[in-house]
Symmetry: C2
Subunit: 350 residues, 2 copies
Amino acid sequence: MINSHQAIVGLDIGGANLKAWHAAGQAMAIPFALWKLPQQLSGQLAAMLQQLPVADRVVVTMTGELADCFATRMEGVEFIVRAVEQAVRSVLPHSTIQFWQTHGKFVAPSDAMASPLLTAASNWQALASMVGWLFPQDDLLLLDIGSTTTDLIPILQGQVSAGGRTDLERLAASELVYTGVRRTVVCHMLPSFQGELDRYGHVLIPLSSELFATSLDVYLLLGSLEEEPKNCETADGRPATKKFAEARLARQICSDQSELTTHDVIQLAMAAAAAQQQQIVQAARTVIDRSSRPIKKIVLSGSGEFLGRQVAIQAGFPMGAILSLKDYWTTAGSEVACARALVELALRGL
Amino acid sequence: MINSHQAIVGLDIGGANLKAWHAAGQAMAIPFALWKLPQQLSGQLAAMLQQLPVADRVVVTMTGELADCFATRMEGVEFIVRAVEQAVRSVLPHSTIQFWQTHGKFVAPSDAMASPLLTAASNWQALASMVGWLFPQDDLLLLDIGSTTTDLIPILQGQVSAGGRTDLERLAASELVYTGVRRTVVCHMLPSFQGELDRYGHVLIPLSSELFATSLDVYLLLGSLEEEPKNCETADGRPATKKFAEARLARQICSDQSELTTHDVIQLAMAAAAAQQQQIVQAARTVIDRSSRPIKKIVLSGSGEFLGRQVAIQAGFPMGAILSLKDYWTTAGSEVACARALVELALRGL
């Protein structure tokens, strides 16, 4: 039985974002560059816990162990487990702490460190397990598009039916596509731009390999993501607005407004968006084709749901078969979906 | 006539490296992250000038104006011109300063700022002009492979015969390939790895889009570049050694030594190197095919000459037609080739 009065907080510790969900219905997400500032992780987590209602159980999942401040993922898992312990001890000293593992269970911190490859990159598995609880009768594809990566998980009659377990296996299985709607460098979305430029006519231009612009800029310019004038978490540290996004995208082909019109840069953004969409559609088809049972529905989640919906349509799902986690968990709950999933799993007695 | 007793220093100001050549025969190169520390540029240049023999003429070329600390290339050109003026005033107050422009002439600082698109990204043109002086009778391709980018310039009977002038035009013309032997992120060299892994057998793995490993790691692991245990100018800030290069490359496919053997990672490095070589060969063929006269020779320069030689062979040049700027300018002179070219052009009365 679900006991929704339990005071449980879920933490999803990524390499670029920290996300939390409290069973009382509160979401929190902050950008945090773990690879630059690992020593601040514990303090950041403590600050988040202080802003949430009190909890007596803290459940955790992670992907941040891959950050290159850690020599290996084992080192990363151990560091993150200890940072969580330190944060929880300081803010919620009487709470228990548990970590989700990819075999589908919560374990104590010592066990999380003892089998680090089960603890690493476990957040997709928590979300998929919870979606299995929500749709126990269906054969569906979970499509979670975040800032950095995309997960495509087949869930058959409530059971997570993934082919891969580690990130490497999941990349090879097309269940993890390393592309997202904010942090993906544009040259990885689109190696070469082919199209019409106002001044030059038809061109084929290989993009520079610098980190000059990201998918955030593509979707700002196309209007899929809202402008955030105070957010400077961008490739060049300038604001997340259309004007600066245009400059960043032009720079990705070593240029600026002296050679390119706004129309030109929109063409570039459209080509990058189309290529990213195609990449995810291709992965979806691979995962669907491999399923032992026909996939009938698709469940969208994550901050890139707008892209997920286009992927779902292009992959051939009828409108009635396209579901959104937002409709079950609200927008805030969907954007911290993995953290919320942990709490829901804990509430269900796992 | 060449007056080799003139005291001239050439400066090549890139976005990631500062290079200098003094007519007395002295080279200097330092890594400098202009995009992170623009305010330190003037001080860095002054420090370089102090370590070189005195000069009464300073000649300058740049590519650093593209760095994303500048809103536009015009802003970048102006900033760099003023930084040079400040540095030269403090160290060599009686020197004249001139900037190379892509129409093939030196101009005063005020003119360099007045026509910034001629001053921007001008270093390839200085080098190509000088190679034209060295080989006045030949129809040749100059192939300069650096840490970050590759230039492919046709030079016909001593005349620079490039199709593009700005970076954008040169990318479209295959005369600039944004790939090099140190700074290129591996996912841009090789979007997907297809091959055999010891533990998994045959796999197709799309690489992560993170900046986890660069071409430096590829060539460290393959032995083409020497280990530099004290050099931490790497993707993760750890030393430029085989051991750490292996870890960085494994991370590019979200993995580490717990899943991948050294043999696996060498396979990945070989695939990335082969893809980069193929990319440059393709560009060379495009440039050669477009030439109005048959290209008979190829001149290699830059710190990536080892790769240039493989490209030249694969592109079909017989051994006797493959020349190296090292044989004319020594290794030190070739690795700061654009800075040296400026000095040589100045010595020839330009």
